[in-house]
């Protein structure tokens, strides 16, 4: 059943989901969970919060499946739900205080790993440190700039698609990206590759 579902476009899977087809919903979640999770993770910088919010996105997809209009691409639609959750409703979740990268527990794990002298572990730590620096820089960007930049850099969406997702004009997206890139250059000025 799931193998058959694998070749069905997401829009059709959503239509089946609206009829209560749980297999279709499961396929839809499996297909889009990584992209939704990572969009949120890059935006909020916290794994646990990203997981909770990604699940919230899919709960909304399940509930809103009947209201979906086939005019919009499914990916645009689900990204709009995600962006809306991140940009407009995150504050009302009362979790804004969690908007920093890495919980104390994650930092603790890093220190434990650091005491391990294996060279590969050291490489991993360096990569993780680099990732953390980038995350910090992203978290320092204003919310709209951060969202536009993530959608462009990691999801490789066009300005037109980003504009639809963020419900603004294409020129506004361009302006957001110009400012985001300028800000990032300042923040990552000491970043040596």
């Amino acid at each position: 059943m799931t193998a058959e579902m694998g070749s069905i476009p997401s829009e059709e899977l959503l239509a089946k989901t609206a009829e209560g087809d749980e297999y279709a919903f499961a396929t839809l979640v499996r297909r889009h969970q990584t992209s939704v999770l990572n969009l949120i993770y890059r935006y909020v910088g916290d794994r646990t919060m990203a997981r909770d919010l990604a699940q919230e996105v899919f709960i909304r997809v399940w509930r809103a499946a009947k209201r979906y209009e086939a005019k919009a691409k499914f990916t645009t639609w689900i990204y709009r739900i995600t962006a809306n959750l991140c940009l407009n409703e995150l504050k009302s979740f009362g979790k804004k205080k969690l908007l920093f990268w890495g919980s104390p527990r994650e930092e603790g794990q890093t220190r434990d790993e650091r005491s391990n002298v294996s060279p590969s572990a050291e490489d991993l730590l360096l990569a993780e440190e680099r990732s953390r620096q980038i995350s910090d820089a992203l978290q320092g960007l204003p919310e709209n700039q951060r969202m536009a930049l993530i959608l462009k850099r990691y999801d490789n969406l066009s300005y037109g698609e980003i504009a639809k997702i963020m419900e603004c004009s294409v020129s506004a997206v361009e302006s957001l990206l110009v400012r985001a890139k300028r800000n990032l250059q300042e923040k990552l000025i000491f970043f040596e590759k």
Binding site: Q33, R47, I59, R130, I134, Y159, K181
Partner: protein, 159 residues
């Protein structure tokens, strides 16, 4: 193209969002201008560095937890045994139909309940003198004149 014009469009150039003519003009400028080329190189360096932000994978129980949350939220939103009722009311057609039925019932009840003692002189004008009819007519200047929607509402509310 001037450096200031090029630098304004560098971001869109990097993202491949310019039209072919503009893309070519910026590209030509970059070949001949070391300052803009340097600026673009810095932009590219940051763009590449962003690639080091690694992707994470969903945890194994992601879908299971999701289904659990959906079931929990359904139980909270719709008490057991009444889910069909909430699903029925969530349909726009059902809501519109109920609204129309509500208006019709309200109008019908309004007419029935407010009719009994409304304008008694109109129902039996012969029994009233001309003066009495004039007095009734002056009621049109009342804050809530008889026979108006507000009057019907007040009458219904007083039942």
């Amino acid at each position: 193209m001037k450096c200031s014009q090029v630098q304004k469009r560098l971001s869109a150039f990097q993202d491949g969002e310019l039209n072919p003519q503009e893309q070519e003009r910026v590209s030509d400028h970059l070949e001949s201008c070391s300052a803009c080329r340097e600026r673009y190189a810095e932009m590219e360096k940051v763009w590449q560095a962003l690639g080091d932000f690694k992707e994470i994978l969903p945890e194994r129980g992601f879908y299971g937890q999701l289904v659990k949350k959906i079931n929990e939220s359904n139980e909270t939103r719709f008490p057991a045994g009444f889910q069909w009722l909430f699903q029925f009311f969530s349909s726009p057609w059902a809501t519109s139909t109920l609204l129309i039925v509500g208006i019709l019932i309200g109008t019908f009840l309004g007419n029935i309940l407010a009719k009994s003692d409304l304008f008694p002189f109109q129902q039996n004008q012969a029994a009233y003198s001309g003066a009495a009819i004039e007095v009734f007519s002056l009621k049109v200047f009342d804050p809530i004149p008889p026979g108006t929607l507000a009057d019907k509402y007040m009458r219904m509310a007083s039942y």
